[in-house]
């Protein structure tokens, strides 16, 4: 009886289905990464013996994605602000950044940061993982910039005027009024960018980061059984992207409260 009350109470506190999905997808992602090796290990060769490798690769893929998402969001906000700035140099830098990143292949950018940057400045040599994080962050940041800029433009100017007329500073006006609404408006395309990022993180393979695609390539090379190996990896990617999209969709519905 007591346990049931507790569960009911918890559900009541979470209020609705969307909160459950939000919490569920985060916990689900953790569980997938934590326990994935167990079911995989029960599968026949070549999957079973390589279960721990698949699991570690998926963890690296998620780590790459989450770090690059956070940095990419910050970069996106900064670049969006730069593009809207009244200060010409800020606009030039932001425009140049978005133009270069969107106009060149991600694979080239990753190789550039791994090989060319240390050639110019050896002290900037980082591990494969952090090099990949930086390249992916810069890449997704440029795409986020356009999305966030559009979101900022969609916030009614009347609300900004109202905030300013109340004496709110530019910083508070941006933080309290513009940013929350711009992020809400931008959320679906931002989630889209994040799912694309999760898949694009496979390119880190090119500089030797042992993420999911690298694992699949290795296991395939050892076993000469491409079909089960690539199907397994595709299934893991699908599981991860589905968790991400479910999370984003629930977040979008939850934040939609009060929106016109």
């Amino acid at each position: 009886m007591g346990a049931r009350r507790l569960v009911e109470d918890m559900i009541h506190k979470l209020k609705d289905r969307d909160s459950l999905i939000l919490v569920g997808s985060v916990m689900g992602l953790g569980l997938i990464l934590w326990l994935m090796a167990l079911p995989l290990a029960t599968l026949p060769a070549p999957i079973g013996p390589a279960a721990a490798q698949f699991s570690a690769g998926a963890l690296t893929t998620i780590e790459l994605t989450l770090w690059a998402s956070v940095f990419g969001l910050v970069l996106g906000i900064l670049a969006a602000l730069g593009k809207r700035s009244h200060i010409p140099p800020a606009r030039w830098v932001a425009d140049l950044y978005v133009w270069v990143i969107r106009g060149t292949p991600l694979l080239l950018q990753i190789l550039f940061f791994f090989l060319a940057v240390p050639a110019i400045a050896p002290q900037l040599q980082l591990s494969e993982f952090w090099t990949a994080v930086i390249a992916l962050s810069l890449n997704v940041g440029a795409y986020n910039a356009e999305v966030i800029r559009a979101g900022i433009n969609a916030v009614p100017t009347g609300q900004v005027e109202a905030a300013r007329s109340l004496g709110l500073s530019l910083v508070y006006t941006f933080w309290d009024i513009v940013l929350p609404q711009a992020v809400r408006i931008s959320l679906p395309p931002l989630a889209n960018n994040m799912v694309a990022l999760l898949k694009d993180s496979s390119l880190a393979y090119a500089i030797g980061v042992v993420e999911l695609s690298m694992v699949s390539s290795r296991v395939q090379a050892e076993s000469f059984q491409p079909v089960p190996v690539f199907m397994t990896v595709a299934a893991i990617y699908l599981l991860l992207t589905t968790t991400f999209t479910q999370f984003a969709a629930a977040l979008e519905r939850k934040l939609a409260v009060g929106k016109r």
Binding site: P156, E161, A162, S165, L166, G167, G258
Partner: protein
């Protein structure tokens, strides 16, 4: 209320966008506690005058002093004036991602640095005053236009301004909601608030105004401290034509 001290002084203010002149050498002052209705055809500069008084528009030339603060390019002066001057817009401009209560408490907490409790208490009193106590937790999209505008008035009043600017506050409302907003404004006028009101509600202006100003082509062409006299017998031909038009429409 004509013998108060001037709280707003506008001196030779000029404002133009390209070839269009919105304010053409406008000089006028407003006294503390005075209720002034500003009327005139659209595009005549009424709203622009209001918007220069809290610097939503920057004048091209001339001087504006509000409550002893010179409105120049100094951001500190601009923010200081804005904390003393509340503004109500034609399209309400409530923050659509915040509840009614949060709309009202945001600025006092951020700008006046009130505690959440104090801001909340003041907000609830104001909601009571505009007759919306039951709607504190709602979002703007769940309210009617008239209710939204009353929230917007409460939001401006929460900053405890010395002056309230109303920019066509009832023009975007359905006819049956105009009155609820005018009632709140009348109540505010009776409490002694300094109010500048751009409006097309001639009946309201006639009843509430201490002074009426008639704008045309960026200039004040008629000014009267006797609204009854002005509305029944305007002297300037442009004002005569305008009021005649309005009477015909009504």
């Amino acid at each position: 209320m004509q013998n108060g001290t001037p709280i707003i002084r506008v001196e030779h203010v000029y404002k133009a966008w390209g070839a269009f002149t919105a304010l053409n050498d406008v000089s006028i002052s407003f006294n503390e506690g005075e209720v002034v209705c500003i009327i005139g055809p659209s595009g005549s500069g009424k709203s622009t005058l209001l918007r220069t008084i809290n610097r939503l528009e920057r004048q091209n030339a001339g001087r504006i002093v509000v409550d002893g603060i010179e409105l120049d390019d100094d951001l500190k002066h601009i923010d200081a004036v804005r904390t003393e001057v509340g503004m109500v817009f034609q399209s309400f401009n409530l923050f659509s991602h915040m509840t009614v209560l949060d709309n009202i408490t945001l600025a006092p907490r951020r700008v006046r640095k009130w505690s959440a409790d104090k801001a909340r208490q003041v907000a609830l009193e104001l909601l009571e005053r505009v007759g919306l106590s039951a709607h504190a937790q709602k979002y703007p999209s769940q309210l009617s236009g008239g209710q939204q505008q009353r929230v917007a008035i409460a939001r401006a009043l929460a900053m405890q301004p010395k002056i309230m600017l109303f920019d066509e506050p009832t023009s975007a409302l359905d006819p049956e909601m105009v009155n609820e907003v005018l009632l709140v404004m009348r109540d505010l006028a009776e409490s002694g608030m300094t109010m500048l009101i751009v409006t097309h509600e001639m009946g309201f202006a006639r009843e509430v105004a201490d002074r009426v100003i008639f704008f045309d082509h960026g200039c004040i062409v008629e000014e009267s401290s006797d609204p009854q006299q002005f509305f029944s017998n305007p002297t300037h031909p442009r004002a005569q034509a305008f009021l005649k038009q309005i009477k015909h429409a009504a």
